[in-house]
Every structure is written in C-alpha cells, then in structure tokens.
C-alpha cells in the first residue's frame, strides 16, 4: 500500500515508516510567529534557559497590528525586536514586509517537502507550495524554540479532486467556499487535505494559496498541492534552502475522496456567523452592507487586486459603502503600484491600507460598529470578529466584493466581468 504526502514527510522527519494515526516527535524546518512572538517570549522565559535552540529556524513577521496602534502594541513590538537582537534570530521581518503567510512564502521559506509549524491558524497556507505546515499555539511555539521538537499525529488525508473549468466571474475563493459549505467547518478536523484534479493543477499559485489557506476553515491540520513546474519556476531565486519534492503515491490510502466539477459553479458567499454557512451570491443579492474589505492573506495578492481593479476601473465606490484594500505584502503593494493597479483602486475611492492583517481580526484599521455589515475577502466571519458583536461579516471573492461595492449592495460579479 502506498503512502500519502503527509505520511511520507512525517516518516522522513521521524526517520521511520509511519502510517496515519501514529504520533511522531519531529524537528520542524521552520517555526513561524508574528506579533504573538511577545507572548511566546513570555512563555519561553519560564523555561529558565537562556538561548533558543535553533535561531536560524525561527521566522518572525510583524503583521497583526502594524504599525503599532497603541502603546501596548508598541511595547509588544519592542519586546520582540529586542529578543530578536539578543538571540541573533536572522529571519525577522518588521512592519514594512506584510502578512506573515505571504512574506514567509515570498521570502522562500515555504518550500516543497519542508515541515513548518506556526503560531497562527492559517499556517496550512504553505501547502500551496507542497510543504507540510500546521498551526500551533504560543506555549507550544515556545517549547519548540527551546527544544527544536514537537509531537504530531500523522493525519489521515481527504483528497479533493477538482475538475472542469472555472466559469467567468468565478474564482478559487468560490471553489473553497463551496467545498466548506458542503462539508462543514469540521469536515477535515485533525486531517490533511490534498487538492488534486485537472482544474486544481491549472490554478495559479496565488489561487492555490487561497485553498490551502482556507483548508484551516475545514478544520484541517494541513493542506497540500503537489508541486509542479509552476511551483518550481516561482521558487527560482526565492528558495532559501535546498528542497525535495514529496508527493503522495498513486496507490496511497485516503480517508475519503471528494469530487468537484466547477464548470457550473456560481459565485459563493459565506454568510454570518460561520464560514460553512455558504449560499450562492444570487440568493443574497440586494443585501446592503457598509464596509468592503479586499485583501488579507487569503485574497491580497496581485491577481486578486487586478480582478478588483478591472471591475472598479473608471467607476466609483457607492456612496453608502467604504472599501478597504490591504495588499498581502509590500512586494505585492509595490508591484500593484508599478502596474497602476493601486491607482485604479484609489481613483475609484477605495482606501488603500498598508499591508498587514488590518481589520481581519478586529484589532484596528476598520472596526465595525453595532449593526454594521462587512463584505470581505478574508477567511473568517465569526461573530464579533471585525468589531462589535452586533456586526455581521459576509465572505466572498475579490470580484464579488468589488462588484457589490459599486452597487452598494451584494451583487453577482458576473454582471461586471
């Protein structure tokens, strides 16, 4: 019997043959953290040791509340900068870089066959490049800093075969929302999700990122796309280390296989207050909202901004709506600036924010008041996430948010594309 990607990589790291269900103790290749590094430092200090075990494996990106919104956040950032200097952590990315998942990928850490843990729930994003990456908590991250090891259960794998061709006005975000809506928010709890099929293979890396990123919303431990020529071409000049492509065997054993043909898929919307409360946009059309959000680690790459800009070009945001744009990183920002994409968005009346997590987790830069409704390209719509517990969040593709922001109400983007 063949093995899945997850069984192979965890076996390789553990130095033995393993099958799903086993627990292994392994040394990760990288440990990511962000602003919560200050909390990790606080935990690390309780161990009574002076130095982290492997400073070169630690990657820290400031992104959650950047620039610091108040004195407490500023103090957090200061604690992190001082610790980075003291411990000689080489891979530190300050407030001028972007959202950790995008920065981690752009800077060549997200590599095929690498084992990555991160103190953020959207760490599974790096499966877009064929890495094994899973989210952990801050105490656990502190322990990995101290010991350079972690226990992981080898997950069973759900394979999702995506075939057909994306219709006009429908995007990767619609595909993953449809899958989450069908399966529910715990369909992949404790499991790996492998995205395969002819359509999935044709997805750009930015689109693969959307699916791997949102596999967290199905409860997945990690998401995975088999690396191909496009992956290798993108990594050229970016990869920080040598790497080995690891693939599932053709006769690997899957927990289940789901099949999707996306040829007739319509734009999708996750309605309040759970990501699996998914409906076609057409069923909610006409619903008024107050704030559009385009960007974040889920949908803030150049291809996303370009889709939005194409819809906004020469038009104005509806007076009843405010639109926030957050490029996923400063690399994306600079590219979009050079290409004129940001100019189109700004001329349409969008507010271009600095790359970062911004309002996605409700800490700053666009908090919702009671009774307000947001339509966002981000990945979570939990009650109160973007501000007041009496506000609501709908999740959609950049095209749906752009089209709806012109109309002032939730609108099918196929009318605009």
């Amino acid at each position: 019997m063949g093995k899945t990607f997850s069984e192979k990589i965890l076996g390789l790291k553990a130095g033995k043959e393993v099958v799903a269900g086993e627990v292994v103790t392994v040394a990760p290749d990288y440990i990511l953290s962000h602003d919560n590094a200050s909390a990790i430092i606080q935990e690390f200090k309780k161990f009574g040791i002076k130095d982290v075990r492997a400073p070169e494996k630690i990657v820290i990106v400031l992104d959650h509340i950047v620039p610091a919104a108040d004195e407490k956040y500023a103090q957090n950032h200061k604690i992190i900068r001082e610790f980075v200097a003291e411990q000689k952590i080489p891979n530190f990315f300050d407030i001028n870089c972007g959202v950790c998942h995008q920065v981690f990928s752009e800077r060549g850490f997200a590599l095929p066959g690498k084992l990555i843990v991160g103190s953020d729930s959207h760490t599974p994003s790096y499966g877009a490049f064929g890495a094994f990456s899973a989210g952990i908590g801050r105490t656990e991250a502190a322990s990995v800093w101290a010991t350079d090891e972690i226990w992981l259960r080898v997950p069973e794998t759900i394979r999702i075969e995506i075939d057909g061709r994306l219709p006009r006005g429908v995007y990767a975000k619609d595909v993953i929302l449809k899958i989450i809506g069908d399966g529910g928010s715990d369909i992949a709890d404790y499991k790996a999700v492998e995205f395969a099929g002819k359509a999935a293979k044709k997805f750009s890396l930015a689109s693969r990122f959307v699916l791997a990123n949102m596999s967290a919303e199905m409860g997945a431990k990690n998401g995975y796309f088999e690396p191909d020529e496009e992956t290798l071409a993108w990594l050229k000049g970016r990869a920080r280390a040598t790497f080995e492509v690891i693939k599932s065997d053709p006769d690997a054993e899957y927990k289940s296989i789901l099949n999707y043909d996306i040829s007739d898929l319509a734009p999708q919307l996750a309605c309040p207050h759970t990501v699996d409360n998914v409906k076609p946009v057409t069923e909610v059309e006409g619903k008024k909202f107050h704030q559009g959000v385009i960007g974040t680690c889920t949908n803030g790459r150049l291809e996303d901004l370009e889709v939005a800009a194409k819809i906004f070009k020469g038009k104005k945001v509806h007076p009843g709506v405010r639109v926030l744009v957050l490029p996923a990183s400063w690399e994306v920002y600079r590219e979009a600036l050079k290409k004129g994409t940001l100019a189109v968005l700004a001329e349409a009346g969008c507010v271009i924010l600095n790359p970062g997590c911004g309002p996605c987790l409700g800490a700053h830069e666009g908090i919702l008041a009671p009774g307000e409704i947001a339509l966002s390209t981000s990945n979570r719509n939990f009650k109160g996430r973007m501000g007041s517990r009496d506000s609501e969040i709908y999740l959609a593709s950049p095209a749906t948010v752009a089209a709806s922001s012109l109309a002032g109400k939730i609108t099918d983007p196929r009318k605009y594309t």
């Binding site: 627990v23 602003d35 919560n36 200050s38 909390a39 606080q42 935990e43 309780k46 161990f47 009574g48 040791i49 959650h64 509340i65 108040d70 407490k72 956040y73 957090n76 103190s119 953020d120 729930s121 760490t123 989210g135 952990i136 908590g137 801050r138 105490t139 656990e140 502190a142 322990s143 101290a146 010991t147 226990w151 259960r153 928010s185 715990d186 709890d189 404790y190 409860g219 431990k221 759970t274 699996d276 987790l361 409700g362 800490a363 908090i367 979570r380 939990f382 009650k383 109160g384 996430r385 501000g387 517990r389």
Partner: protein, 165 residues
Amino acid sequence: MNKGKVWKYGDDVNTDVIFPGKYTYNLMEPAEMARHALEDLDPSFAKNVKSGDVIVAGKNFGCGSSREQAAASLKYAGVQAVVAKSFARIYFRNAINLGLPVLQCPEAVDNVNTGDEMEIDFARGEIKTGKGVYKFPPLPDSVIGILEAGGLIEYTKKKLEETRK
C-alpha cells in the same frame, strides 16, 4: 474528584466568541483574561462562573484561531474541564498544553443541561451527572505526560533539565 455546575453550549463554538481578537494582544493578565471569557457567546458567563464549573458543548469546540487565550481564559475563569462531542485540532493541543482537560464524550453532552451538576473522575475516565454515568476514552499517551506535569511549560522544563544532567 470535583463537582461543578454545567454551562452548556451548541456546536462549532469558535475561538472568537470564546476570546475576542481585539483583546488578544493587549490583555495578558490571567484575571483580566478570565473577565472576558465567552464574552461574545454568553455575556453572563464570566460574571457567574464558579471554580470547578464545566463547559459542555457540541462538535468542533474551539474552531478558528490558534489563539491560546481561548483555552487560557476558561482555565483562569476556574473551568475544570471542557466536555464536548469533538474538539478543533489546535484548540485541543492548546488546552492540553495549558493543563485544561478536554474530554470527548458525546453521550454526556446529550444528557446534561445548563445548571446541572457534573462530577468528573479522571482516574476512572467517568463523568457523573444526576442522570447517569458516562465513560470517556482515555487521552492519548502523548498528552497524558503533559497534563500530568501541569502543562507543557512544566513538561518541557523537566525535559530540558533531564537533557542537561
């Protein structure tokens, strides 16, 4: 063996309603964190919870963010355990790592209501209520050591000391 009062909730209780994101980087003190536990799900909880109380919930408890405060705030509020039909993966790890027992026992969940008394016998793997006794499966070996040490910090500390000897 500890007795406590049950606080029962539904399926998919997520990390944002357990501990809102706006507090995750500016509330660090245990007492402060406890004051905001379950704020966006049940505003009456933090005011009325007593030490030893038990949270009972449906499937996928703790889904969403990796924020550890979603486990820490409950522990600091005095919650002795969370009993659910199932747990989201990161939440499960975080709770164990902080020494907050998380027990999977669908039968018990179906048979209790808010306000009922519940007794948990960890050694026997039993949950007792006025209506019956329900068995829960033992936790995996890999996590028992961490719980027994009182959480991952103590567990790792011991491990580091052993390697130094």
